[in-house]
């Protein structure tokens, strides 16, 4: 059986091609795969479609990839007040944006992971986000159709992985990471510690190994914003 543990960050992202659709975990400075992001920046992958809650904090988190002009389209809920490199590219029309309500962003990814072709919701009805979407009247309420968001890769951050890819997360650094792990063809987790199979109590596993394809230990940058 081919092992999931990669020796380096570079090896873990080596095959990510130009034009890839990539999810990036993290929220509020916590749980960002900052070391994988730095590796992808060094690799120089271009024309990325990025799916992320926000668009970076100055050069931190995804900010570096906007600074390097590696991202052409972003699906996000809260680009954020300190995403200056994104805002500059957006104003110059070098990057396009689909703005999605945060919970709907989660649920569209979850739908992708769950093998669902979408769902109807009352969130966004009558607002800008409803434009161009199918509307139906269900259970007495106006609803819009939301479609799944899939990805070629998910770059996520966890606390511990065992060698099979079972993951745990620390405090509120969990956030988007488990949802993205389910929704991508290839999920790459940077973790603080890799432990032997069986070392994580099965009752404490937060993301089961079936959703995780590559694991790399990263001791460097934890908070980049």
């Amino acid at each position: 059986m081919k092992g999931k543990v990669y020796a380096s960050l570079e090896a873990a992202v080596a095959d990510i091609p130009d034009g890839a659709q990539i999810m990036f975990g993290g929220f509020g400075g916590a749980g960002f795969p900052n070391n994988l992001i730095q590796a992808l920046a060094r690799k120089g992958t271009k024309n990325i479609t990025a799916i992320s809650n926000n668009c970076g904090t100055r050069e931190g988190e995804l900010g570096l990839m906007f600074k390097n002009n590696q991202i052409k389209h972003v699906i996000a809920s809260f680009p954020g007040p300190h995403a200056n490199y994104f805002q500059e590219r957006f104003a110059a029309k070098e990057v396009t944006l689909e703005l999605v309500p945060q919970g709907i962003l989660c649920e569209r990814m979850r739908a992708a992971g769950a093998g669902l072709q979408g769902f109807y919701t009352t969130v966004g009805v009558g607002t800008e986000v409803a434009e161009g979407k199918e509307e139906r009247f269900l259970e007495g309420q106006r609803c819009i159709l939301e479609l799944p968001i899939r990805a070629d890769y998910a770059l996520i951050k966890a606390l511990q992985a065992d060698e099979l890819g079972n993951l745990t997360y620390r405090l509120a650094a969990r956030n988007f990471n488990p949802v993205m792990a389910m929704a991508a063809k290839t999920t790459i987790a940077e973790v603080e510690e890799i432990v032997p199979v069986g070392a994580i109590n099965p009752e404490h596993v937060m993301t089961p190994a079936i959703f995780v394809h590559r694991i790399v230990q990263a001791k460097g940058l934890r908070y980049a914003g």
């Binding site: 809920s77 007040p81 805002q87 709907i104 956030n175 988007f176 949802v179």
Partner: protein, 224 residues
């Protein structure tokens, strides 16, 4: 009549805190709502939900106590209260959208007479705008309170017949608490419940472009 004053942001938060029932699960938005946690009345226990996956969020962390894996939705290091739990973002919004949050308190740019809320983008403002969790929270909370100044800095009413700013959600607001009044959104229209000290209902109406229903003698806004 006593001198007319407008409530401070802290006083609006203090008034809003009185609306939280004991035992409620509560989500507080950015701005004035974020101040409410400091003003809970004695004997009232509520459980704060944070959209990044925390239930039972406590006070802000003191210097030296910060852990940057334990932050609120504004990226501020916080603490936990006993019985707290963590979960992923999809479950956090399952709670907001699925009707599990008893009371949400959000800031607002405009509220309409039908209870429509606009709170995420100012028309003509530079940049992309950011929605965050506001649409999920406004749509799904069992009760939604909006805390805001009664008028803009230029004096334009923020309680309006119809919102002209980009909408967050339709017919979602239950109560509006401003520096001048408490207003309930009812099927019959906007009902004036309280006015700030020294203000007559007609004076509040003059700064409101939607019609306010003032049924009886309107009591003064209370704080404690």
């Amino acid at each position: 009549m006593p001198a007319k004053t407008r409530l401070t942001r802290e006083q609006i938060a203090q008034r809003a805190a009185l609306e939280l029932p004991d035992g409620a699960y509560v989500n507080l938005g950015w701005g004035i709502p974020n101040l409410i946690a400091d003003y809970l009345p004695k004997g009232i226990t509520v459980y704060f939900h944070s959209e990044n996956g925390i239930l039972g969020m406590g006070r802000r962390a003191k210097p030296g106590e910060e852990d940057f894996d334990l932050v609120d939705a504004m990226k501020v290091p916080v603490t936990l209260t006993p019985g707290a739990s963590f979960f992923h973002q999809a479950d956090a919004h399952l709670m907001t959208r699925g009707g599990h949050i008893d009371v949400a308190v959000l800031g607002g740019f405009q509220v309409s007479e039908k209870g429509d809320l606009a709170n995420w983008k100012i028309p003509g403002a530079k940049g992309s705008g950011s929605i965050g969790g506001a649409m999920d929270i406004a749509t799904g909370a069992k009760m939604l309170i909006v805390c805001m100044e009664h008028t803009t800095r230029d004096g334009a009413p923020k309680i309006v017949k119809k919102c002209t700013y980009p909408l967050t959600a339709l017919a979602c607001v239950d109560t509006i608490i401003t520096d001048l009044a408490v207003v309930d959104v009812k099927p019959e229209g906007l009902v004036l419940r309280e006015v700030a000290r020294g203000w007559a209902p007609e004076e509040v109406q003059a700064l409101t472009s939607a019609h306010l229903i003032a049924r009886q003698k309107i009591p003064e806004m209370s704080f404690v």
